[in-house]
């Protein structure tokens, strides 16, 4: 054994040791299969006609925007103050929420940036109006709200009815976004977790996973779309005056 080899051996040993420590954080990865017939509900309108020249492109689901996987540890280890300093930012651009499913840890701050040339007035639908009160966000401005209540809430825009999103405020756990192909990967501490797939207002898949030294491979399939008719949007509760809606923890509009 030559001297020059000693540093290499030390490095290798160190790597092994370090690798053993890293094994305490398990990996959960997988793929979400989206059926071909699982598209958006047909757009509203009197007519939708093919152009007759080119085939109409399928109305694909964007897993990046519309799907969210949440891993919730069965043994509660996270406290309510876990995400207190965290800020989650979403953008309004192209007259839509770029991420329609917004995962926010409990206690974290939600920042909404309006990148459109028109104002947006987002709010959480009844009966959860207090989660995100109705307040306009002018074009180019941003508003911040601190999430203080766990749950899933429907986000609406008082200016543009088609602007919709869901706010998922989780108490602990890890929220994992999918890529454009539906793949996901998360590193979490070893333990037993509840995996939940959120899609368009509901957790459509729920299962338990044991995270350990070996990566957990998951193959998920989005369940068929229920032919439920779109529910009417409840009439929003409008504030009496814009100034009255300011809260101690929100940053207001910028």
């Amino acid at each position: 054994m030559s001297l020059p080899r000693a540093p290499g051996a030390l490095l290798a040993l160190l790597a092994i040791l370090l690798g053993g420590r890293a094994a305490d954080a398990g990996v959960v990865r997988g793929q979400l299969a989206i059926p071909s017939d699982r598209g958006d509900p047909p757009s509203e309108g009197l007519w939708r006609i093919d152009n007759g020249i080119l085939p109409v492109a399928p109305k694909a689901i964007d897993p990046r925007s519309e799907c969210l996987i949440v891993l919730v540890p069965r043994a509660a280890r996270a406290s309510k103050e876990a995400g207190k300093e965290e800020t989650v930012t979403v953008e309004l651009r192209g007259l839509r929420l770029q991420t329609s499913v917004i995962a926010v840890p409990l206690g974290a701050t939600l920042e909404i940036k309006n990148e459109d040339r028109v104002p947006h007035t987002l709010y959480t639908a009844a009966p959860d109006e207090t989660v995100l009160p109705m307040r306009p966000t002018p074009a180019g401005a941003a508003r911040t709200e601190r999430m203080q209540r766990p749950g899933t809430f429907l986000l609406l825009d008082d200016e543009l009815p088609h602007v919709r999103g869901w706010l998922v405020v989780s108490e602990g756990g890890v929220a994992v976004r999918l890529d454009e192909r539906g793949a996901f990967r998360a590193e979490v501490p070893d333990g037993r977790y509840g995996l939940r797939l959120f899609y368009r207002g509901a957790f459509v898949i729920e299962r338990d996973v044991d995270v350990g030294s070996r990566p957990v491979e998951l193959q998920l399939t989005l369940p068929p779309r229920t032919p439920a008719k779109r529910e009417p949007v409840p009439e929003p509760v409008r504030p009496a005056a814009p100034a009255a809606a300011s809260a101690p923890h929100d940053g207001g509009t910028r």
Binding site: E44, L46, I49, D50, A57, H162
Partner: protein, 625 residues
């Protein structure tokens, strides 16, 4: 009367039914009319939906036409590829859109590249570009290759929009969006086609309407009240708002979440109540009214009138006329009493009541006349029937002479009636035969002749009433009560004495000789009492009795024998028994009766006659002056 009552009840029921129908019919008519209006409004809503659908398809075709413009295709392709000068592309596209909009005259035209970025606008926000509108589902679908339509609420306004993809050979390079604001022009065009007033609403606010509908302020409230119904079925049931029929329909598309509605309104024709109906009829042109429809009603009324008139005439009018006729005859003196048998029902009751009243008044008048009779009455009341004593058939013969009461002068009002010879005499009770009044039956010359003969009797000169006394007699006869009309009877031209009905001469016995004769007497007295009240026979004067008493006994005896023989022969002829019938008893009875009659009636003599009555032998005594 019962038929008339039934007819009146029937007419009342018919009238009540007609009144009820008149009250209910307008309400039923209103209800039916409302239903018809509601049904028509629902059809109008369906037509409105089709109209909007056809109109949307027209906008889609227009957008497709614009999207196929080569300049736009090339420009948007360049914008999609990116490196080109976007400002120049913007200008080119905007110019081209203006060109098209000069023909389309729409409020919103926009062209986007393949990512939904606006390259140029015309109309609304014409100066803005480079922003993305791919968030609109309509634009997103157009970028995928679909043509379609939608409704957008922008800044409190409602736009009906259509979009088409812009295609360059084998790929999509953008989309063209055109839109038209929903204004009064749309409402008017819908009204022109649908025939109903139209109001457009967005977020609980009326944004356009045809005319100045009086219920515009009520429509948002109604839409809020039926929000759930609208969300379920995109329309409401027909509503009634202040006399208007309204149906709410939701615009299809994104604006539906902002309560984009159209309200179809048509006034309800308030027939309402009978006065309102009458007022509407009065307001109408008389020439325009359907008078021919009233012909059956008029015919029915005429028929009712005819039937009612016939019934009234038959049931009420004719008996009343007959009663009036008889009453008038009674007033003229042609009748003494109303013929009750000819009247039935209430008329008969009235006739009987009138007859009873007449008799009661007559009786009272007679009583008053008797009470006020003069102290020196005439010898014989010529207006009174003479009683005739009879013996009931099958019983021992008895001769009863019922004393007559003194005559009472009747009221002067009855004098004419009494003195009239044509007045029939009333019926006498029992088997007493009627007798005519003296003055009515006998002329004055004969009366005077008899007076002369009476004076010729020996010793009677002082007793025979003189002409002055006769005048007094005549005066006393004048105020007699009304006559009593006999239904039948024997009228004599002379003074009639009571007749002796000796149907069984063998049983003839002196009065008071046997109990049976007493019973008969007792039975005959009530019969004679009725006669008493109707007869005025005064006691003869002493001179007349004296003259009668001085008759020849032989002649009288011979006459009695002749009567006895005739009586026996008649009884044998009738097959009656002759046991107990003796000449002495017979003559003695005749003597007693003769004396009684002479004393009672003051006649000069009494003539006995045998006759057959009802197959039995009877004896009649007739006073002879």
């Amino acid at each position: 009367m019962g038929l008339l009552r039934a007819w009146v009840i029937l007419l009342t029921l018919v009238a009540a039914l007609a009144a009820a129908f008149a009250v209910l019919a307008p309400q039923m008519l209103t209800r039916d009319l409302d239903r018809e209006i509601d049904a028509r409004l629902e059809r109008t809503h369906h037509a409105a939906s089709l109209l909007l659908r056809v109109n949307a398809r027209k906008w889609i075709d227009t957008s497709a036409q614009v999207a196929s413009d080569a300049v736009l295709v090339e420009s948007l392709n360049e914008a999609t590829r990116g490196p080109s000068d976007l400002a120049m592309v913007h200008k080119t596209v905007q110019d081209r859109l203006r060109y098209f909009n000069e023909r389309m005259k729409v409020d919103l035209v926009a062209a986007t590249d393949a990512r939904g970025r606006v390259i140029a606008r015309v109309g609304l926000d014409a100066a803005a570009y480079k922003d993305s509108i791919e968030g609109y589902p309509l634009v997103a679908d157009a970028l995928r290759g679909q043509r379609g339509d939608d409704t957008w609420p922008i800044g409190g306004r409602l736009y009906r929009v259509a979009a088409s993809p812009v295609i360059l050979r084998d790929h999509y390079v953008g989309a063209v969006v055109i839109g038209q604001e929903a204004t009064t022009e749309l409402a008017e065009s819908m009204k022109a086609v649908l025939g109903a007033d139209v109001a457009l609403m967005l977020r609980g606010r009326v944004i356009a309407s045809t005319g100045n509908l009086p219920i515009l302020d009520k429509l948002p409230v109604a839409s809020a009240a039926h929000a759930a119904e609208l969300a379920r079925g995109a329309r409401s049931a027909p509503l009634s708002i202040d006399g208007w029929a309204v149906i709410l329909g939701a615009f299809v598309g994104e604006a539906a979440d902002h309560q984009a509605l159209f309200a179809l309104c048509t006034p309800r024709q308030a027939v309402g109540s009978l006065p309102a109906l009458a007022a509407s009829v009065l307001r109408a042109d008389p020439a325009s009214l359907p008078w021919r429809s009233l012909v059956p009603i008029a015919a029915a009324m005429l028929l009712c009138l005819v039937i009612g008139s016939i019934l009234v005439s038959a049931v009420a009018g004719r008996p009343l006329d007959k009663l009036v006729h008889h009453v008038q005859a009674l007033a003229r003196g042609e009748l003494q009493r109303l013929p009750e048998a000819e009247h039935r029902g209430r008329a008969g009751v009235l006739a009987r009541a009138l007859n009873s009243t007449i008799e009661r008044i007559a009786g009272r008048a007679r009583a008053e006349a008797r009470a006020s009779a003069p102290t020196a009455p005439p010898l014989v009341d010529p207006a009174r029937p003479a009683p005739r004593l009879t013996t009931p058939p099958g019983s021992p013969a008895s001769i009863q002479v019922t004393p007559l009461p003194p005559p009472a002068p009747p009221p002067a009002a009855f004098a004419a009636t009494v003195m009239s010879p044509a007045v029939p005499l009333p019926a006498l009770p029992g088997n007493l035969e009627p007798i005519a009044s003296v003055e009515a039956a006998m002329p004055t010359s004969e009366f005077e002749d008899r007076q002369t003969r009476a004076r010729d009797w020996p010793g009677a000169a002082a007793s025979i009433p003189s002409s002055a006394q006769r005048g007094l007699f005549t005066q006393s006869l004048t105020p007699l009560p009304p006559p009593i009309v006999p239904p039948q009877g024997e009228m004599t031209g002379s003074i009639m004495a009571p007749a002796v009905d000796a149907t069984a001469p063998n049983e003839v016995e002196p009065e008071g000789e046997s109990p049976s004769s007493q019973r008969r007497t007792a039975r005959a007295i009530p019969t004679a009492r009725g006669f008493e009240e109707q007869t005025s026979v005064e006691s003869p004067s002493e001179a007349l009795l004296l003259a009668a008493a001085h008759g020849t006994d032989e002649e009288i005896e011979a006459d009695y024998r002749r009567v006895f023989e005739e009586f026996i022969a008649t009884r044998q002829k009738c097959g009656e028994a002759l046991e107990g019938v003796t000449l002495d008893k017979f003559i003695e009875k005749l003597r007693q009766n003769r004396a009684q009659l002479i004393q009672r009636y003051g006649c000069a003599s009494v003539r006995f006659q045998v006759y057959v009555k009802d197959g039995r032998t009877a004896l009649k005594a007739t006073p002879v002056s």
